[in-house]
């Protein structure tokens, strides 16, 4: 089950967009967002910005979970994100899961994938650099 620190990964923005922790895959949170008007771009499809928000939230989620596991405290600040859109998000639930590619002292590099029906066929991926400032 999610612990208090893990839930902190969900920002007011993420909660407002309807992003939830679907399950834990070991130490990694798998997030989900249901399709509704809040995330809709052109009719019956996800807006690219909503997909990007889900990816970014999953990136922060995996980093926050790992820092908690290591007993580290840090204020997370975005450095950059590059989102690749692979196919249009259709009108059903989307999931996202991040992987920490490199965890340094001051910054982390994270790769994230979002999918709908099949995790092996992502609808979008992202790579993020995140600054970890002293709390």
């Amino acid at each position: 089950m999610a612990e208090a620190g893990h839930i902190d990964a969900l920002t007011p923005y993420a909660r407002s967009l309807g992003i939830l922790v679907d399950r834990w895959d070991g130490d990694i949170p798998v997030l989900r967002v249901e399709f509704d008007a809040t995330v809709e771009g052109r009719p019956e499809h996800y807006h690219g910005g909503a997909t990007g928000g889900l990816l970014e939230t999953a990136g922060y989620g995996v980093l926050r979970a790992e820092l908690d596991r290591l007993g580290r405290t840090a204020v997370l600040k975005p450095i950059n994100i590059t989102v690749q859109y692979l196919s249009a998000g259709k009108s059903r639930t989307s999931y996202a899961k991040g992987r920490i590619t490199k965890l340094g002292r001051r910054s982390a590099n994270i790769t994230v994938e979002a999918w709908q029906d099949d995790p092996a066929r992502p609808i979008a991926t992202a790579v993020m650099n995140v600054l970890m400032a002293d709390a």
Partner: protein
């Protein structure tokens, strides 16, 4: 020379798109435009923040803002309201937005080819000479039977 291109009016398009869906939820507004660029405004809001108890807008809504401004900049540059899809979008967050500040997103379409369009732009919180983020992106034109008007 007279500009004979069919008009794409960003002001009207933002009104249409912000009446519903993700753009409506974010409350995006028209700000300004030129021949190949469009600027939109994202009003500051408590439930779009990066931290509970903080005052700074999260970066996710800025990504949405830049995606939409970029799509409109491409429609301006193409003078055509045909369907496009975002291929990739990179956002460099060079500094946090000021507390309580609305964020403006300005994107320019600097090149259109037969099948692709390229954008660059920035987000600022009032002073365009001091951006909070820089962006670049690539879009594809898509042949589609779905109604056009919402890039996503």
């Amino acid at each position: 020379m007279t500009d004979t291109r069919p008009s794409f009016d960003p002001r009207r398009a933002v009104q249409l798109m912000s009446s519903r869906g993700h753009s409506g939820w974010l409350g995006m507004r028209y700000s300004a435009h030129g021949d190949d660029w469009v600027e939109l405004e994202l009003p500051w809001r408590q439930d779009l923040l990066a931290e509970a108890g903080g005052k700074v807008l999260a970066s996710g809504p800025i990504l949405s803002l830049m995606d939409m401004a970029s799509g409109m900049a491409i429609w301006r540059a193409m003078a055509d309201f045909s369907a496009i899809a975002t291929l990739d979008l990179r956002v460099d967050y060079v500094r946090p937005a000021r507390e309580g500040a609305n964020v403006f997103g300005r994107s320019q379409c600097y090149r259109v080819t037969r099948s692709a369009a390229f954008v660059r732009g920035f987000a600022h919180d009032g002073d365009a000479d001091d951006p909070v983020a820089h962006i670049q992106g690539a879009f594809m034109k898509i042949a589609s039977s779905v109604p056009v008007g919402w890039n996503g």
